[in-house]
Symmetry: C2
Subunit: 267 residues, 2 copies
């Protein structure tokens, strides 16, 4: 099993990703894709007059303030605009894609954070009316049902709380949980950098290989959005994923190149 995570960045080579998936799918490789959509969500939220806000957790992670209206806009973009864009592109390439959120069939299930202790502009605050959570379980049964029947699952946040509420969950960590649940052969994380950089954003400082036992030590090189990606990778490796690859999603054959040794290989 190969799990592919693609971010929502606009400079990804979407057509190259689709063509690469189509080739792997045609070769009978079991695989699925998880996508994000943060950048587009910010734009649409602005257009709809409900601009995005970000908060910093006490442990230093930045996340989206997700009130009820933000959750709705988030779903419009992730599950509507982008999920169906991906599904349509796959369908046109002959891949029988099925797009689902983590709320559907509780594919990504976890706890909603009732109260969120955060910092907003440096000041401590406790947020209620926030619809954020963390994936703790993956409904592999539903995914396996689809895979066995020849479908290609295209997954996206939100997830479901234990009470069935929609929760904004991090896409990278969700993909890591899926890879872990399947003991995947590889988790390929495509973004708009060539991999983990020792000196971000200097692309010549690409870290080519990280021994699995030392994955934790490399957290120090992760900047911004990369933090959660590396945290997901460390978790995935810890739970039995054979290989995590941070690779360039802007190039031709991005998945095949990653599987052939490109990007940053954690194994």
């Amino acid at each position: 099993m190969i799990v592919i995570k693609v971010g929502g960045g606009k400079d990804l080579n979407i057509d190259a990703i689709v063509a690469d998936v189509a080739a792997l799918h045609a070769a009978g490789k079991p695989l699925l894709l998880v996508h994000g959509g943060a950048e587009t969500t910010n734009e649409v939220a602005e257009q709809l007059g409900h601009p995005p806000e970000f908060v910093t957790s006490e442990s230093g992670y930045v996340s989206r303030r997700t009130d009820r209206r933000t959750l709705e806009i988030f779903e419009m973009v992730y599950c509507g605009q982008l999920n169906k864009m991906w599904v349509e592109k796959f369908q046109r390439a002959g891949v029988n894609a099925v797009g689902l959120s983590g709320l559907d069939g509780r594919i990504f299930e976890g706890k909603r954070k009732d109260t969120l202790r955060v910092r907003i502009n440096g000041k401590r605050a406790v947020l209620r009316d926030d619809w954020t959570g963390t994936v703790e379980r993956v409904n592999t049964g539903l995914l396996q049902l689809l895979l066995d029947a020849g479908y290609f699952p295209v997954l996206t946040p939100p997830g479901a709380s234990e009470q069935g509420e929609a929760i904004n969950v991090d896409g990278d960590r969700a993909a890591a949980m899926v890879a872990a649940a399947f003991h995947a052969e590889a988790l390929v994380i495509l973004s708009n950098v060539p991999g983990l950089l020792r000196n971000y954003p200097d692309e010549s400082t690409l870290i080519r290989a990280i021994p699995r036992a030392k994955a934790d030590d490399f957290m120090q090189y992760a900047e911004g959005r990369m933090k959660k990606k590396v945290m997901g990778a460390v978790e995935a490796i810890g739970e039995g994923v054979q290989r995590v690859i941070f690779a360039d999603g802007r190039i031709e054959s991005p998945i095949s190149q990653a599987l052939a040794g490109g990007g940053t290989q954690i194994a």
Copy 2:
């Protein structure tokens, strides 16, 4: 099998529909739901600066002008905002719902109308760059897979063309095609009227029963949006659906009341 169609109207009693589905689902009844979203799509299209346009076909049906940007907004609302709203409500009621568009797994497949001959403000026009089509086939295999595993499918347009393009398809006719494909015991069409009215909008003129052989004759009473609903009903009855019911979606236990003989019964 019972197929439930709910419109996108704002005065529907959504919580009553959800509670009713939950009771039927718990009783082990195989059922699925198809929902619309036209009204909300109009609002969001306005908010996003791409206001809706409607065209009239040569045979007199009104439909949404669906250029590429409209299709995207349509997907945001139908597949994102509304589909996930329904799925979340069902999940909170203990129903393991799975929300899918007709594009996913090509559940609603049909022909895209390459060129659309229409009238705009009375004038004849031929539209290209239009993403509209008609459902011709239903992927019952995927739906049966989900039903057999205990999931509750929550379906919505768009559908897929034979080339895998997303196409705006009519939700009522899609629901009728699903009911026909399953030779459903009942197709329950909920909207914001008590059923088919002999004298629209006078609710005291509710037509209580229509013999299946005469369904065609009752097309004359259908006004506006009701036209496609009755056309769908006639098709469904023609293809072996045992009973089509036009019923009130604003009341308590709307599905149970319809199955118990409420609304307009075509059988």
